[in-house]
């Protein structure tokens, strides 16, 4: 691995050459910057991986069953496992998706599950991302580059190859494709923060990168408009656009990014959309609390991977605990994402704590509270020396005929020594994730 670290400059040159960038909006301006890459990989032992893999497959299967249940019979609500209002008050729940059965009954084709490793070595799930989890292309291209610049590193270390991610995506697209139509990745365009990923995955998966104007819905089917108005049926859309912007006729009518009447084609089963619309209900921060219960309810098994200890102020006994111990907890606004709306009680002034308590009293459903996990620091290169920084791991689970876990992941780290927030949209960097073959 030392050989790889020595090649840091060469790796960065290749990153620049391939335009590996991440877009950030700051003060209303869009800036593209190179996504900082740290050459020291996160290493996951084979033994750890076996547990992670089994736990994630179990978790994602349960989440897919939950989505099918919520937009169908709602047994989990009827049996009192999850309170009804947790479903209907969630911004991720879409009434427009009621009764829709997606192609092959798969809702979350690509699930990005965020994990951290506690200091006792235990892996803990922090968050489920079932809408448009991004980031897989970065470790994929990083591996392509690091294998070029330091082949000896991979001769000496038995690491699972991670360059098959695009093939896994393509396989999932082909599996749900309706009527063997065209496979497209629908992008909002180059000013999206993850545009690099959209275009890179389209290239590597061998599918079409489409913009809203390239697609049209006619007779409840989706068509790609080629030159001279030639139309070809689209069978599957891997959309990189949020639900609310996907169809202006059903959701936000001002959206210029979506395809009018797409929902109609989807409802009729004439096109597969991955991930399915309405998945936001399953990755709601409040619903997260119930995932281990879902595993038991749908699969009759104990959850292999545990959540961080979480409290729902919705329940009076949890609220009492949260209000009494707020200084030692991390409080999250369930409506926020991307590292925003996360407050550490210990960092807030007395006045701010009182305000927060009042907000929790007024809208208990809006908040969750978690014990702060003292997760492990990873070594990061800073100049010629190394420093320790907080990091997390996003692992990608692909659901098609089988549910598989991509043997790699995006390790994000904070560059701020005092921060626990590793989100790339807040300026963090990334590492490759090595899953060991033995």
């Amino acid at each position: 691995m030392y050989a790889l670290v020595k090649q840091k400059e060469a790796v960065n040159k290749w990153m620049e050459r391939f335009g590996v960038r991440f877009g950030i909006y700051k003060n209303g301006n869009f800036n593209e910057q190179l996504f900082p890459f740290d050459p020291i990989p996160r290493i996951i032992s084979h033994k750890d991986w076996i547990d992670i893999e089994a736990g994630l497959i179990q978790r994602v299967k349960a989440l897919n069953l939950f989505l099918a249940d919520i937009y169908g019979p709602k047994e989990i609500v009827k049996q009192g496992i999850i309170p009804e209002e947790f479903i209907y008050s969630s911004s991720g729940y879409l009434a427009q998706c009621e009764g829709i059965v997606p192609s092959k009954n798969i809702y979350s084709h690509i699930s990005g599950i965020d994990l951290v490793q506690a200091k006792d070595g235990k892996w803990i799930v922090l968050e489920d991302n079932l809408r448009i989890p991004s980031g897989a292309s970065y470790p994929m291209i990083a591996r392509t580059i690091t294998r070029k610049v330091s082949p000896e590193t991979f001769k000496e270390n038995a690491v699972f190859d991670n360059r098959s991610y695009a093939s896994l995506i393509r396989k999932a697209m082909d599996y749900v494709n309706v009527e063997n139509g065209l496979a497209v990745i629908l992008t909002p365009g180059r000013y999206n923060s993850a545009y690099f990923e959209h275009s890179y995955l389209a290239e590597k998966a061998g599918v079409i990168l489409a913009y809203a104007d390239d697609l049209i819905v006619e007779n409840d089917c989706v068509y790609y408009i080629g030159l001279f108005d030639k139309r070809e049926r689209v069978g599957v859309i891997y959309r990189r656009i949020s639900d609310e912007f996907l169809d202006p006729m059903t959701f936000d009518s001002s959206s210029m990014l979506g395809v009018p009447n797409l929902m109609q084609a989807y409802r009729k089963g004439n096109v597969a959309i991955m991930n399915a619309l309405g998945n936001g209900i399953a990755d709601d921060k409040g619903i997260y609390y119930y995932v281990p219960k879902m595993v038991e309810f749908y699969l009759g098994e104990k959850a292999i991977l545990q959540n961080a200890p979480t409290y729902l102020p919705y329940y009076d006994y949890d609220k009492k605990y949260v209000l009494e111990n707020i200084k030692t907890l991390v409080i999250k606004d369930v409506a926020e994402a991307g590292g925003y709306g996360v407050m550490f009680g210990r960092e807030l002034s007395d006045e701010k704590l009182e305000n927060l308590k009042a907000l929790i009293e007024a809208e208990p459903r809006r908040w969750i509270a978690q014990e702060i996990i003292d997760f492990i620091d990873l070594e990061i290169m800073e100049g010629e020396s190394t420093v320790m920084r907080k990091s997390d791991l996003r692992v990608y689970v692909i659901s098609e005929e089988e549910t598989r876990v991509w043997r790699s992941g995006l390790t994000r780290y904070t560059r701020d020594p005092s921060s626990f927030i590793v989100n790339s949209s807040q300026g963090g960097g990334f590492k490759d994730t090595w899953v060991m073959r033995k």
Partner: protein
Amino acid sequence: METIATKVITPSISTAKANRLFWMGRYAQRVYQALHQLRKHFDMSIDVNDNAYKEFCFKMGIENKYASSEDFFQKYLFDETNPDSVINMLDRTKSNAMVLREEIMSETLSYIEMSISHINYCKLNCNNLNDLQPITDNMLAFWGSLDERILNKQTRHIIKFGKHLENMDLHIRFEYPFSRVEGIYKLMLETIEKECYICNKEILYALEQKLTPDKYKEPATLAVLNSLFSI
């Protein structure tokens, strides 16, 4: 408006993509040719004609808003606020190319990325036109990579249509001999005839009438040439 043909369309190319492919080809060729002509005119400015840059501006059809030869070389190369500058040409090439990654492949796009990195480096660190040679090398590698990697004929021909059209335009502007211009025209014609279908048939006919040794340098020839692309 009539197009030459409308058959054998690869469905993966939308109108917007075809437009970008064409303009990517034009801008990439403009970068290459502009640097080539700059070298020639810079050479003249050393000891033959200190005002060679004025001739360059005139032939290129751009406004001479420069105070001196030095001012010209600095601003024409590196000034992002100057719409005529080489750095801007590269940016426009990239703007078109980066949304075509799945068509042209990352390896091809990388030559544009490297050219942009290099011109940004030179802006701060170089004072000799010779230091920009890697950009010329990258542009040649870009064309080679396109030839090597793009198997979709329609995609190739649309890009090459843009490249040859730009090349022909600049060869006429810089008064190359007719035989050279005619040679480029024949190359361009090949792209149009081979599954490209994005030019106006009547304008092509009008262009053919203009391509004679005595008429090809007329401004009207350039006007016809530049209205040939049609989708």
